[in-house]
Amino acid sequence: MIEPIKFFTGKFNISISDIESLLGAALSKGGEYADLYFEYTTLDSLNLEEQLVKSANRAVRQGVGVRVISGEKTGYAYCDEIDVAAIRKAALTAAHIAESRQVGASVNVSSSRAARDLYPVGRLINDEPLPRKIELLNHIDRSSRAFDRRIREVQASLADEFKVVLIATSEGRLIGDAQPLARMRVMCIADDDGNLQSGVSGGGGRIGMDFFSEQLIDHYANEAARQAIVQLEAQDAPAGSMEVVLGPGWPGILLHEAVGHGLEADFNRKGTSAFSGLIGHKVASELCTVVDEGTMPNRRGSLNVDDEGNPTSQTVLIENGVLRGYLQDKLSSRLTKANLTGNGRRESYRHMPMPRMTNTYLLNGASTPDEIIRSVKRGLFAVQFGGGQVDITNGKFVFSATEAYLIEDGKVTAPVKGATLIGNGPDALTKVTAVANDLALDQGVGTCGKDGQSVPVGVGLPTIKISEMTVGGTK
């Protein structure tokens, strides 16, 4: 496995004393804190459709981001070249955010190691020969088509990256990480005499090639095909307010939208979140305990250290219905004197870090999924979702069901078409009236967007019942 400090000092001829001097340059206008983020990422992708591997792509992304904090202000600059002169220029640009004449103190860094290795990977997918990856996609194509003769088209893709980072801070920390990440995606289109429907599945994580066992990729292939076939029979979705049961796993996107974003510390520091000032208040039913956990092995949202070099952790956001804490990055924790939670993340060296989720999930309850379904007289059972979105300030959030069924007299009946569900973050979880014992994390496909930056995340949920939610169907 790559040792990040050696990787950068060796490949780019940059020494530890260069790094110290660059941090000094970043603080030369009187900034209080500075960090450097070195990145070298290789991204591969491979796409199959119409039973052809239509393209193979490899991108190399490298550069260094320099950040300087002065009070509430942040200066940021980056360069694509990893060499001392270019980084120094960026450091001096970022330094200008501070306006004092004080000369910055000299900086000494000493290297440290992450406390754990959450993604030990024997063999990187990045290093796999292309024919082996191609065979995986061909296998998925055959498997999806074999599921049902009405599967007319299969698109399959494999995207994998390997990111090596080195973070140096003016507080003296020097820490690296080597982060593998891969995602398989399958989309099937079913055609029944002109009735066209689609289904999507996939998965991944911070994993190696062994993760994609034949059994697992068959599961993705069948799952995408199954969803498309189910939709062939779908009726119009209902409209109005009703009881909603969410299945386990990916429907955890509810938490991500309803409470997760609203609990990111930047919005709360500024008082612009619907959750601002609600710590210690009841924001959910006592059945709800929500955590954000960046330390789950091999998960898509996990990191050994966040993108500011701080260890990730498990943060309890809501405990038995009571709001406990926010997700912090360096800037917000400095300004609000809160403890770091290891949630400072960024898309790349071209981006400033900010508070972001990692893997966000709801803990198990005592009910069983069957009991929950049986308790509903008329409602919606939603098991697969597309994307979601939230208005942080008024708390209104949506997420779109792509596979859902009616519940009638305690039984799951007809499949219904996709529909958007809408709710209000600060009270959506107060309406959770049952939580089952079947917690599952999603399969590893989630990407979260905020302020134009995308980062990989995970979500998880056991089966839950919400007593009332607005379902945006047409009937």
Partner: protein
């Protein structure tokens, strides 16, 4: 520095190493971004970035590579990656570069760069953001907080060189100003983000106008409530109509068509919408954000009528999708540094109608004036549409009370045919624009 010569050498090297055809794109951009909040500078970002992308074909097989490192060694690896990978993908007969005769012969000057933007001082950019936020905060005592205001500029150039004989380059600038005030009344808070993005500084709305409009948009959301579930006519304010148009693009994108993943497959020449509706993509509008002299494959930009008086006239295509469909490219190839070209719109808009927005609202007895939408509930395969919405309820032709936490749903087939009025209020604030439109009925889901 990335030059035509560098890309031309890269393409030649790729061909020398076995590629049948090659295409290189180079992008250089200097970007600046400043955010002001409550009058103080909060973030300031400045950087120059660049990248090269290479796409090669090897006997009908395709691969691509990209790098942000433009050293000779990195470019050497870029070429070998692409050529070696292309030997292993499938033969795809539709994957080709455009033929020589299809390529743009000259690089039209569309007024895409403005020296006033490249010369704009940091102090002035900070001042613009400050003024926009100050105007928003000064508009009403209920504007109590702010997510801030941002001024961003990009100054750059794009170069494309292909082995079929194309070599083009154009400079481009953009300037954007955004402001997001927060209105508060009782314990309710509402935020509205509003802004403008243009290629020329002089075209940008004034900071004061943007700030006042943002404040108006935040204030009018206060004290919103749900409504009962019902079918009702819907008036989409121009910015919401823009989002409908953006969803519609997914159904005329050539990739959706050849994949048969659109409800508009096989409908060319047929009536798909009310006769009021005309939709155009125009890559040549002078000084517009979506304009470019040539597309991502080197074809000269053009104007394409997508829908004319309700009749579907054209899909939007690049070379690949045109070949798959037996049609000609509409010069809508969009090229990122990495990957095969996709299809993208240039300046995409609904042609303005004859009604003033207030006349359209006045025509509704009981209905919903949608000013914002949220979420991703459009399925291009089926045309099914369901998204979160907020705005105002209309009673007897007047805006009666604000509405939030409801959804609107329907199917695009019916929605397009159900358009009964189109406004005259078309204004580009980016690459996509629509006037106010009215759809005769959709399902509103609330209480």
């Amino acid at each position: 520095m990335i030059t035509k010569e560098l890309l031309s050498d890269t393409v030649k090297q790729a061909v020398r190493r076995g590629a049948t055809d090659a295409e290189a794109i180079g992008v250089e951009t200097t970007e600046f971004h400043v955010e002001v909040r409550l009058g103080e500078v909060e973030k300031l970002q400045e950087a120059a970035s660049r990248g090269i992308g290479l796409r090669v074909l090897y006997q009908g097989r395709q691969a691509s590579s990209s790098t942000s490192d433009v050293s000779p060694q990195a470019i050497d690896e870029l070429i070998s990656h692409a050529v070696e990978m292309a030997k292993l993908t499938s033969v795809d007969e539709a994957a080709t570069l455009p033929a020589r005769h299809e390529l743009a012969r000259e690089t039209a000057d569309l007024g895409l760069d403005d020296q006033a933007i490249s010369e704009l001082s940091t102090e002035r950019k900070i001042e613009m953001a400050r003024s926009a936020e100050a105007a928003a905060r000064g508009a009403d005592s209920r504007i109590t907080n702010s997510e801030g205001a941002a001024c961003s500029t990009t100054v750059g150039k794009i170069i494309l060189v292909t082995s079929a004989g194309f070599a083009g380059e154009y400079p481009a600038t953009t300037c954007a100003l955004m402001v997001a005030p927060i209105a508060k009344e009782g314990d309710q808070m509402q935020m509205a983000a509003w802004g403008d993005r243009q290629r020329a500084l002089a075209s940008l709305d004034s900071p004061e106008a943007l700030g006042r409009e943002a404040a108006r948009r935040a204030l009018r959301k206060l004290n919103a409530r749900k409504v009962a579930t019902q079918e009702a006519p819907i008036v989409f304010e121009s910015s919401a109509a823009e989002e409908l148009l953006s969803d519609f693009f997914g159904a005329v994108d050539g990739y959706s068509i050849f994949r048969r993943a659109s409800f508009l497959v096989g409908r060319l020449g047929e009536t798909i919408a009310a006769p009021e509706l005309t939709i155009i993509d125009d890559g040549r509008m002078c000084g517009a954000v979506g304009s470019r002299p040539f597309d991502g494959e080197g074809l000269a930009s053009r104007l394409t009528v997508v829908v004319e008086k309700g009749i579907l006239k054209n899909y939007l295509l690049n070379t690949y999708t045109a070949r798959k469909l037996g049609l000609r490219s509409t010069a809508n190839a969009a090229r990122a540094l990495i990957g095969a070209p996709t299809v993208g719109f240039s300046n995409f808009f609904i042609a303005p109608g004859v009604y003033r927005a207030d006349e359209i609202i006045a025509s509704v007895k009981n209905g919903f004036y949608v000013t914002e939408m949220i979420g991703f509930g459009f399925n291009a395969v089926t045309g099914d549409f369901s998204r979160g919405a907020s705005g105002w309820w209309i009673e007897d032709g007047k805006l009666a009370f604000p509405v939030e936490e409801v959804t609107i749903a329907g199917n695009f087939r019916d929605m397009l045919r159900g358009i009964t009025m189109i406004g005259d209020d078309l204004r580009f604030r980016g690459r996509i624009a629509a006037p106010t439109i009215k759809i005769d009925r959709m399902m509103v889901s609330g209480e």
